[in-house]
């Protein structure tokens, strides 16, 4: 039977068009470092929330194994790396319709001095990485006495 197995409807064509436009805008690199628009709802992809004690930054990493995620604090930077290795091989399976794809996420944040870098913690659960950035008081300005040498 030569009937297309899937009916990709007009709505999808529109999505693909949007995706192409975003690709062009972002230089073939989605906002999240993935190739193109992967999720159609960008706002679900990353979230930053604030409480009195801490900031919390989270990113969706569906399909990424915990050992493929790294969070590093170095030289006043928060460095996040994650790699989706692609789907596990499913025996005898033929792809028919694919929206998901392998991707990498790469983020470097300069930590402000209101973040307690020592207290940063990270958790990975149900495909979501959450980094907790505890706040600290901004260090008070320190007056440095100028020594006059005569």
């Amino acid at each position: 039977m030569l009937v297309p197995w899937f009916d990709v409807d007009a709505a999808f064509a529109e999505m693909n068009n949007l995706s192409k436009q975003m690709d062009a805008l972002l230089g073939n690199r989605g906002l999240d470092g993935r190739h193109g628009l992967r999720s159609f709802d960008l706002q679900t992809n990353e979230a930053l929330t604030e409480t009195e004690e801490a900031w919390s930054w989270s990113v969706d990493l569906p399909g990424v194994r915990k050992d493929s995620v790294s969070v590093t604090v170095e030289n006043g930077q928060l460095i996040v790396r994650a790699k989706h290795e692609g789907n596990p091989h499913i025996e005898g399976a033929t792809p028919r319709y694919l929206e998901r794809r392998a991707y990498e996420v790469s983020r470097d944040f300069a930590l402000p001095d209101t973040v307690d870098a020592e207290g940063i913690s990270a958790a990975y659960e149900h495909g979501v990485l959450t980094v907790r950035l505890p706040k600290r008081e901004r260090p008070k300005p320190r007056q440095i006495e100028i020594q006059v040498r005569s």
Binding site: F6, A11, G92, Y97
Partner: protein, 123 residues
């Protein structure tokens, strides 16, 4: 669109049927459409849904006639994933098996026995 095509699996946008299929129960939840992969095996289909942020026990998989609905509210209680697929008649929606790992839901949908490829021995 001819009738034959319509009988094939349609992966549709929620925009089409927003009014009828959007979950009504959970209040103040913003719903998003998860990405899906469809793979075919001799025994049936494998469907992979990206549902990050949803606890596996909170994922709901419902079938009604040829419609397969997947939804789940994220742990933040504010956002959820929701998608409806229309399956071809060859698949046995009552036989679906589900597992979830790292924010990905994997559904295996068996074919009805009669629809499976069958090798007939020539004597």
């Amino acid at each position: 669109m001819n009738t034959e095509t319509q009988q094939n699996l349609q992966v549709r946008s929620d925009n089409e049927d927003k009014a009828t299929t959007r979950p009504q129960s959970a209040q103040n939840v913003r719903w998003f459409r998860p990405a899906v992969d469809v793979l075919e095996r001799a025994e049936g289909l494998v469907l992979l849904f990206d549902l990050p942020g949803v606890e596996p026990k909170q994922i709901e998989v419902q079938t009604e006639e040829s419609r397969l609905t997947v939804k789940g509210v994220r742990t933040d209680g504010e956002r959820g994933w929701h998608r409806v697929l229309t399956m071809p008649p060859a698949y046995n929606l009552a036989g679906i098996e589900a597992k979830a790992e790292n924010g990905v839901l994997v559904l295996t949908v068996p074919k009805h026995e009669a629809a499976r490829p069958r090798r007939i021995e020539v004597r």
